[in-house]
């Protein structure tokens, strides 16, 4: 746990508030001073691991509790398990949550979550890839401005679009002609509200600025020569996009896919807005939030539900962390 023998170029500074050891001077001390100094040197590492433990404790607590029955959850803390208290360990919470077929059927919730997250991941990728390609490699007038306007929408809070989108999905779009008392139906009411389609359509719209931004960053950094060579060979934009750009941009597409999947699978706001009145379509997040509202009654089931809901993104995260980090970095640092 101590730092390495040969000090690397940046040994960790012990705190960010200014009070840090003057390592070089103190190391000349003998005896007690030497011991204190050496202890101090490993403090940063200890601080780091204490923080790591702090950060992990809540999740471990939930995990342990999800395997304990209601009485144990209420009367003894989860860490007693590590002191050898194995009472009340059970799988019943999981059985219960997957067993019920009623409105609260949790399995349905997981499927609903996927029914939202998969199209909300795949479709924005395709659409944004087209647009990012156009912004990066098709010349046309006003390209820079169009791009900046699109991408600046990144910062818009989703809340500003929720009410009109809900109205659009529930009533269609109608325009009353100014000065005339006639209403033209532009989009008929197709009954999207209360279906997962409304949710992933909304997600797709909200994802566009970030997706275009991320993919454009990558695509515009591809070497110009390969595009010129392809054009000389007579390839049109569609061929270039299909044969050249798509295969080349798999890493960034994966990065965005993970990002978007986690985002949409974990979303609560848009789902509760669009599906509030259709409990059979609720994704897992709404199901556990509802369980959480009945805390006293169902708290034992809640732990299992929350853990199952969390396991999917955690699995995605740990298996594809490299791409996820790349996505975050491309989105933040380069911009």
């Amino acid at each position: 746990m101590t730092t390495t023998n040969s000090p690397p170029p940046t040994t960790p500074a012990s705190s960010s508030t200014g009070g840090t050891s003057k390592a070089g001077d103190a190391s000349k001390e003998k005896g007690v001073g030497k011991i204190v100094y050496n202890t101090m040197r490993s403090v940063p590492t200890w601080v780091l691991w204490i923080l790591v433990i702090l950060w992990t404790t809540p999740t471990i607590g939930l995990f342990v509790n999800s395997f304990r029955d209601r009485d144990m959850q209420r009367t003894s803390a989860f860490w007693t398990l590590f002191r050898g208290n194995f009472d009340g360990l059970t799988l019943n919470n999981y059985r219960e949550i997957f067993g019920t077929e009623a409105d609260g059927g949790f399995w349905d919730g997981i499927i609903n979550s996927f029914a939202i997250a998969i199209p909300a991941t795949v479709i924005p990728i395709a659409i944004a890839a087209f647009a990012a390609y156009a912004f990066a490699w098709i010349e046309f007038r006003g390209r820079e401005w169009l791009f900046i306007i699109t991408v600046s929408l990144l910062a818009i809070p989703n809340q500003v679009a929720l009410i009109p989108l809900l109205q659009l999905f529930s009533n269609g779009a109608h325009v009353t002609l100014p000065g005339l008392d006639k209403t033209v139906t532009l989009v008929p009411d197709v009954g999207l509200v209360g279906t997962s389609n409304a949710v992933w359509l909304t997600h797709t719209a909200f994802a566009m600025p970030f997706a275009i931004f991320l993919l454009h960053n990558y695509l515009s950094s591809l070497p110009k020569d390969i595009f010129e060579a392809a054009r000389i060979d007579g390839a049109d934009h569609f061929t270039i996009f299909w044969r050249l750009v798509l295969p080349l941009s798999v890493p960034v597409l994966a990065a965005f896919a993970i990002f978007q999947f986690l985002w949409t699978y974990n979303d609560y706001l848009i789902a509760i807005t669009m599906l509030g009145s259709a409990p059979s379509e609720w994704p897992a997040t709404i199901k556990i939030a509802t369980l959480s509202g009945e805390f006293g009654l169902k708290e034992n089931v809640l732990t299992a539900g929350a853990f199952v809901q969390t396991v999917v993104p955690l699995a995605v995260f740990f298996s594809l962390q490299r791409y996820f980090v790349r996505g975050i970095l491309a989105g933040a640092v380069k911009g």
Binding site: T10, G19, G61, A126, F130, S152, V160, P164, A289, T310
Partner: protein, 648 residues
């Protein structure tokens, strides 16, 4: 299982249809250079389909066969034939006659198809006014964009046609007219389009290649821009419009009437969103006094350093800046805790979460840099990023939970709190042990201060002394008045008053105002990983030569951190802070799940949702959304400027 399969089918269909549409469109436009007639037939069919589809969708056409399919197909066939024929006729006069004639013929079809109980009685004044106005507008637009009178003329013709259709259909009184007027309404509009078509020429080979190449930008951009415009821009405009409306008294769900800026007035004047009534208690907050103490300390340090500085000038140092910064941080926290309300809460969230997540992220990135098992530590800190806000809230619920005081505490925080309380009131050996440990810590810190002082590391000595002071205070509380979760009560036992010490818990989610802080910690827990990952990459990107050079010049680790690393990653810090501000501004799920906005924890986003969707007050809900939007505008402009710099 059925559900799963139907879901999968739906997904495959959605993806497949969009993919096929994209490929077909690309194929279609590549036919412009290869098979010109086929290209025209398809385009014509598509336009016909759309036109008759809109008419049929607005129930203007009679019911024949399967509704909503029959007339669009007729339209598609007619449009395909007209465009196909026109693609072959080059001679100008014949082309003009054919175009105008065949479009008029389509007008006859439309007139005949008109629903018999819905025949229009035209209002000529309105129709002509609309025709002319729209025509002029389109003509002017065409002139501005194309800068060519002939082309602007064609734009004007299109404008005339659209104006006629809007004015004639819109101004007409449906149901009281006769068949003749339906023919007139249809034929005039379509004939105008025909005239416009007839004035065009068949493009030569170069023109066709231009159509093919020029179409691609639209095909590639259209789907994304459609989503952006329909899903973001138009809704944004509509929300701004809705924010100026309000529900009519005892009106129906959707009966909105003009309300001016009153919704905004309400937001900024009602005491749920801004409540200054408690400001008198500001100086009662211990945070303020801690802050004041630190300010004095920083002043003292500045003065001492000034007196002792060789050139007799004051200068800032870590020893004076850090208490100064912390002091203002504490005072700001005290302000947020005294002034209550939705808006104050939101500002508090933004302030505390952005700062804490950034600082913690930076600290962890520095601590973890090039240690053993760096990646393990980092991915464990990063992990909460993958957990949903709802899931995180539930996880933390078990951290904050308070059981009845006489029962074992199962929440981590209350367990520690009650545990400290027991420690400070107990007479058993654990209490003595705790006292011994504290004495030991104080001794070590004092020793460290002495060593650092002799080694001329004054900042280190000062902070060690400060630490010893803090632990000393703890020590005093522990042996003196006690600390932690306990309270004393006096009860009567056999007629005698007996003072009893019992455990006492904190209701983390109910105690105003600091319950807000406990909610914020959840978001900090999630977002620190985000900040850490970015800072970690940025620190690794600092060129090694810079650090080496600084070392050669005799810089200490602290100096390297503040003078080399921090300036190098300054832009990254800006990016992280702005990203966090935007994210924290719209925090919703955590508040919703943990307290549902009760106990003084309401924030703008959850207030917006409650007003708009629970109370169906779209006007006020929209106004709250617009307030959210306006508060991120400065960051939007900052981002735009940054991007402009990158583009050039």
């Amino acid at each position: 299982m059925d559900r799963l399969i139907s879901t999968l089918i739906r997904i495959v269909l959605a993806v497949g249809v969009s993919g096929v549409m994209f490929v077909v469109l690309n194929y279609l436009f590549s036919q412009a250079t290869k098979r010109w007639r086929l290209f025209n037939v398809i385009v014509g069919a598509f336009i016909g389909l759309l036109y008759f589809g809109i008419l049929d969708g607005n129930r203007l056409l009679g019911d024949v066969g399967p509704t909503l399919i029959f007339w669009p197909i007729i339209g598609a066939v007619a449009g395909g034939i007209v465009f196909g024929v026109l693609s072959e006729i080059e001679e100008p006069r014949l082309r003009f006659a054919t175009a105008a004639g065949s479009m008029a013929a389509i007008g006859i079809i439309q007139g005949a198809a008109w629903r018999s109980d819905f025949l229009p009685s035209l209002d000529w004044g309105t129709a002509i006014a609309w025709t002319l106005i729209t025509g002029v507008i389109f003509g002017a637009l065409g002139l501005a964009i194309r800068q060519d009178f002939f082309r602007a003329g064609r734009w004007a013709l299109i404008g005339l046609a659209i104006g006629w259709m809007l004015g004639a259909y819109g101004g007409a009184d449906f149901g009281s007219g006769n068949r003749g007027e339906s023919y007139l309404a249809a034929i005039i509009g379509l004939a105008l389009v025909g005239v416009c078509l007839g004035m065009s020429k068949i493009p030569d080979n170069a023109g066709r290649i231009k159509i093919n190449a020029g179409s691609r930008k639209y095909i590639f951009l259209a789907p994304a821009l459609a989503f952006v415009v329909l899903g973001l821009l138009i809704p944004l405009a509509r929300t701004i419009y809705l924010s100026l409306l309000t529900r009519e008294e005892d009106g129906r769900f959707n009966d909105l009437v003009w309300n001016g800026l009153e919704n905004y007035g309400f937001i900024f004047t009602n005491e749920n969103s801004l409540d200054f009534s408690d400001w008198g208690n500001f100086f009662g907050s211990s945070l303020v006094w801690w802050g004041a103490g630190l300010l004095v300390l920083s002043l003292v340090v500045v003065l001492v350093q000034w007196l002792r500085s060789p050139d007799g000038r004051p200068r800032a140092s870590g020893g004076s800046i850090s208490p100064f910064v912390i002091a203002w941080f504490l005072i700001a926290m005290a302000v947020f805790a005294t002034l209550r309300g939705t808006i104050i809460n939101n500002l508090w969230w933004v302030f505390f979460v952005s700062i804490m997540a950034t600082v913690l992220g930076l600290v962890i990135a520095v601590l973890a840099d090039r240690t053993r098992m760096e990646s393990v530590a980092k991915s464990l800190i990063f992990m909460p990023m993958a957990i949903s806000f709802v899931g995180a809230s539930i996880i933390w619920r078990y951290m904050y939970i308070a059981r009845p005081p006489n029962k074992p505490q199962t929440g981590v925080f209350n367990s520690i709190w009650v545990g400290i309380g027991e420690l400070s009131t107990t007479d058993s050996w654990t209490g003595i042990l705790a006292i011994a440990v504290l004495i030991g810590v104080i001794a070590v810190l004092l020793l460290l201060a002495g060593i650092s002082w002799r080694a001329k590391a004054k900042n280190m000595a000062l902070s060690s002394l400060l630490g010893a002071g803090l632990v000393g205070y703890l020590f005093y509380r522990l042996i003196g008045p006690g600390i932690g979760g306990f309270k004393t009560r006096t009860i009567l036992v056999d007629g005698q008053e007996v003072t009893q010490t019992i455990p006492d818990t904190i209701l983390f989610l109910q105690n105003i105002p600091f319950n807000n802080l406990w909610l914020m910690i959840i978001l900090i827990w999630i977002q620190t990983g985000f900040a850490m990952v970015i800072f970690s990459a940025a620190i690794k990107a600092v060129p090694g030569e810079f650090i080496e050079a600084a070392k050669v010049d005799g810089a200490t680790e602290t100096q390297i951190f503040w003078r080399v690393i921090i300036p190098q990653i300054a832009t990254t810090i800006g990016v992280v802070v702005t990203t966090l501000i935007v994210l924290v501004m719209k925090v919703y799920d955590i508040v919703k799940v943990m307290t549902n906005g009760n106990f003084g924890t309401q924030v703008l986003a959850s207030d917006m949702w409650q007003r708009a969707f629970t109370e169906s007050n779209f006007g006020l809900g929209s106004a709250l959304a617009v307030v959210l939007f306006i508060s991120v505008l400065p960051i939007m402009f900052y981002n735009i400027r940054r991007m402009q710099k990158l583009e050039t």
